[in-house]
């Protein structure tokens, strides 16, 4: 077994020997990877925060949004280039770190990065700012006066999860509002954020002191307090328990933006279940399941399938099983560690128990197959699957029947992948939105939100800034003091 080594993070102003280093271990078939992650003391975090604040004031805040977009575009272009050493490194190491199928990571990363090219970033900004120049200079307001959107001096990111590349979403958001950025690497995928930071600095050395990426073991109150006390905004991803713990360390005057874990699902109308379309629908549904083995908040954990089409919900679950089996040849599921395997086993056992009392149900796939489809003949309370390509198909008489069932889990809802006719789409969208759903996509596109997506229904950029307004009164009053005033 060969052992590879990598160094994570990006910490301007520190020499390697000044830092404590921890090693995170990852293992794949025939290969091991040791990632050295830098650990700063509370005092070092404070010093770093000061450096990044000054750096962003001195440089980033003097740049226009267009200039920043151009730099991000160049960095992303390099990552999109299969011949670029950074991209090759990502293709080589990220599958090892996350356990995901290499080809799946490669395709996923490319699709994801494409949403951060110049035109897409312009759209990203335009989603939140009808007039993007608000971020550059005071702009006249229709109500009178002027306003400017100012990003924080220090935005701290707490990243989580193993979906490759996820951290750059909020990092780029921070850059677009000209914030100084410090990010905490996710232990499950500690490499990509640091690479991206280095790439950005490579493209624009002026950014060197405007961002930093480091690590500490989650729950370290001393470090969290030290850093959060310096921040204007703390943005965190994680489960509710982790978010709760983090929020307690954030001063009450500091804005805290928490993105919790979410539950997403698919809905298939009878309109998509004729003999010609059903298989294609199942293929797209299976694709959403397979992508990152359902680890994303937008990944479907179950599908509600309407009765009354040519293809019954039960048959659809067979189609879905067939498609999952086919995908396994193309994108193998990652090898499950024991705790994941135990979760999957528990989910399977629960499904098997239900077969005793619900003879109309079914559990499709062998116990050791890298996917399982459970079919439920009746609507039942919303429940997560065991992820890792375990999915439930629930038969419903009418798709609207789903709405009361999901309402109880409002706080956890996010994406719905919908296969339905146009009139159904808009009627359901209204009801789903009221129930708490924030994103409706096509099946097959659940795991690839479009550029400018409002993550969990929030404003990616507006949530980060504060508006500074020059009221008309100030403008008028100033006139009186002009040297040329009569």
């Amino acid at each position: 077994m060969t052992t590879l080594h990598a160094v994570a993070g990006y910490l301007p102003g520190f020499r390697a020997e000044e830092l404590a280093w921890q090693t995170l271990h990852f293992e794949g078939p025939g290969e091991r990877l040791e990632v050295a992650v830098p650990e700063l003391s509370p005092a070092q975090w404070v010093a770093l925060a000061e450096r990044v604040k000054q750096g962003s004031r001195a440089y980033l805040k003097t740049r226009t949004v267009s200039q920043i977009i151009a730099v991000v575009d160049r960095a992303v272009a390099r990552l999109l280039d299969p011949a670029d050493p950074w991209r090759q490194q990502a293709d080589r190491l990220l599958p090892l770190v996350t356990g995901f199928d290499a080809e799946m990571v490669r395709l996923g990363l490319t699709a994801y990065l494409k949403t951060f090219r110049q035109p897409q970033l312009q759209r990203f900004v335009a989603e939140d700012f009808a007039n993007p120049k608000l971020l550059d200079e005071f702009q006249p307001r229709p109500k009178g006066g002027f306003a400017k959107a100012m990003g924080p001096d220090l935005l701290v990111h707490i990243w989580a999860g193993n979906v490759p590349g996820l951290p750059i979403w909020s990092l780029i958001s921070g850059l677009l509002v000209k914030a100084g950025n410090i990010g905490k690497l996710p232990g499950a995928e500690p490499l990509f954020a640091g690479w991206f930071a280095r790439l950005l600095v490579d493209e624009d050395p002026g950014l060197a002191d405007c961002l930093a990426v480091g690590w500490w073991k989650g729950g370290d109150a001393a470090r969290e307090q030290a850093l959060f006390a310096q921040a204007d905004v703390v943005l965190a991803y994680g489960g509710n328990a982790a978010l709760q713990a983090l929020r307690q360390q954030v001063p009450v005057t500091t804005r805290f933006l928490g993105y919790g874990h979410k539950l997403s699902f698919g809905m298939v109308s009878r309109a998509a279940l004729d003999a010609r379309k059903a298989q294609g629908t199942a293929h797209l549904a299976a694709y959403d399941v397979v992508r990152y083995d359902q680890q994303g908040c937008y990944s479907p954990q179950l599908f509600f399938v309407e009765r009354g089409g040519k293809v019954s919900p039960r048959d659809f679950s067979q189609y879905l099983a067939h498609e999952l089996a086919s995908f396994e040849h193309k994108f193998a599921r990652r090898v499950l560690p024991l705790d994941d395997a135990a979760s999957v086993a528990r989910w399977q056992q629960a499904q098997e128990m239900q077969l005793f009392t619900q003879p109309g149900n079914a559990l499709i796939g062998e116990a050791d197959a890298p996917w399982r489809v459970a079919y439920a003949d009746q609507l039942q309370p919303l429940a997560p699957s065991a992820l890792n390509r375990t999915v439930q198909v629930v038969a419903v008489d009418r798709l609207e029947d789903v709405v009361p069932v999901i309402g109880r889990s409002r706080a956890f809802l996010q994406t719905v992948g919908l296969a339905a006719a146009p009139a159904e789409l808009f009627a359901l969208a209204e009801a789903l939105g009221r129930a708490g759903v924030t994103r409706i996509s096509a099946l097959g596109a659940m795991t690839a939100p479009e550029a400018g997506w409002h993550h969990d229904g929030r404003f990616n950029l507006l949530d980060l800034v504060q508006m500074v307004e020059i009221e008309q009164s100030a403008e008028l009053a100033a006139e009186r003091f002009a040297p040329y005033a009569d």
Partner: protein, 372 residues
């Protein structure tokens, strides 16, 4: 083929009596060869397949019948969650059954139920094993129990276990120290002080988390004891969120320093509502300690998804075949992670619901939210 494949024309009670008799004889032996264990296990499998309808359906779902199973390892292992969903009993349920239930953590939780038409086998299993592994040759000792009584918790297998310990192995001075108001530290300290003064070995038994509460109280009061040689501690069940969660090494080190009982005399019992037999270690001077049981229980480490045995030395989930489980099912699949070693297995903890690795909501977090 075997002694306990009883004719079906017997009444359920008569069948049970015949099986109990055969089992008690088996347990009373010095040990059991692989073949003897196998025979007894398969005979019980035939019996349970015939008379336990829920188990039979479970086996058929797995494609297994007495025709297809020819080694005890092949008996379908019933996941402990099935004790919640199914009624697992060979004898029709009766009011006279003793029913042990799992401890649900909240009101809404469904509890697993283990039906015992008679406790003769459970009690015999407990006595023989406890005598050897905890009493170690001593007939009776003064015992302090940090757990509610059997009257207070009639559905707790642990309450029954501890009541048996006091009844059959405790001296007249044995006492319970857990009141509805909590741990009666003052009375307990008095008992410990008396043992210290009189030089009479003392045994403290109870839930692991109650021992943590005791240690917290002693630390707060700045008290400690040096119990006489031969004194011992039995803890069981882990902390279950009922006390602070402390590393095992620290737990036993603190027990030693506060009570004067060496870690070699601090014994951890691993038992489950779904079993009728317990596992013990030989003290906790070296961690993690090796757990083992008597000759009527055998354990395997399996892949939880397939039920297949993992390679020796690899982590797996524990599946136990407990022949004392004559009325429910002999073979259960736990949610406990372990690793096989010489002389038994190491218990590495519960297979916690996998923490979400990405940002997709995981079952555990969802359930937790549903409980609030």
């Amino acid at each position: 083929m075997n002694a306990i494949n009883t004719p079906t024309d017997l009444s359920p009670q008569a069948r049970t009596a015949a099986i109990v008799q055969g089992l008690l004889a088996f347990m009373a032996r010095d040990g059991a060869s692989d073949e003897a264990f196998n025979q007894q296990a398969l005979a019980l499998f035939v019996h349970q397949f015939q008379h336990n309808p829920a188990f039979q359906r479970f086996c058929r779902q797995k494609g297994q019948t007495p025709r297809t199973v020819n080694r005890w390892q092949g008996i379908p292992a019933v996941p402990i969650s099935a004790f919640k969903a199914l009624t697992l009993s060979c004898q029709p349920l009766a009011d006279t059954d003793r029913v042990f239930m799992t401890s649900g953590t909240t009101q809404g939780d469904v509890k697993g139920k283990h039906h015992h038409p008679t406790l003769a086998v459970y009690d015999a299993s407990m006595r023989a094993n406890f005598s050897q592994r905890f009493m170690r040759g001593t007939d009776r000792m003064a015992m302090g129990i940090l757990f509610p009584t059997e009257v207070e918790m009639p559905n707790s297998s642990l309450a029954h276990y501890l009541a048996l310990a006091v009844q059959d192995f405790g001296t007249a001075g044995s006492q319970y120290f857990l009141t509805p108001q909590g741990l009666d530290t003052a009375r307990l300290c008095a008992a410990l002080a008396q043992a210290e003064q009189t030089g009479t070995p003392y045994a403290l038994l109870g839930a692991s988390y109650s021992l943590v509460h005791l240690m917290d109280a002693l630390l707060q009061q700045g008290r400690s004891f040096a119990l006489p040689a031969g004194s011992r501690v039995l803890d069981t069940g882990g902390f279950k969120g009922q006390s602070r969660d402390i590393p095992m090494a620290q737990f036993y080190a603190q027990l030693s320093s506060l009570l004067g009982v060496p870690a070699s005399h601090c014994i951890n019992m691993y038992g489950m509502t779904e079993l009728s037999t317990q596992f013990y270690d030989a003290g906790n001077a070296v961690l993690p300690s090796v757990k083992s049981g008597p000759h009527w229980i055998r354990s395997r480490l399996v892949n939880p998804m397939t039920g297949e045995e993992v390679a020796h030395g690899a982590h797996g989930v524990l599946a136990h075949c407990d022949l004392a489980n004559f009325n429910s099912v002999t073979t259960i699949l736990t949610e406990d992670v372990g690793v096989a070693v010489d002389g038994g297995f190491l218990l590495l903890g519960r297979a916690e619901g996998a923490q979400a690795k990405g940002c997709s909501l995981a079952v555990e977090a969802f359930l937790q939210a549903a409980r609030v």
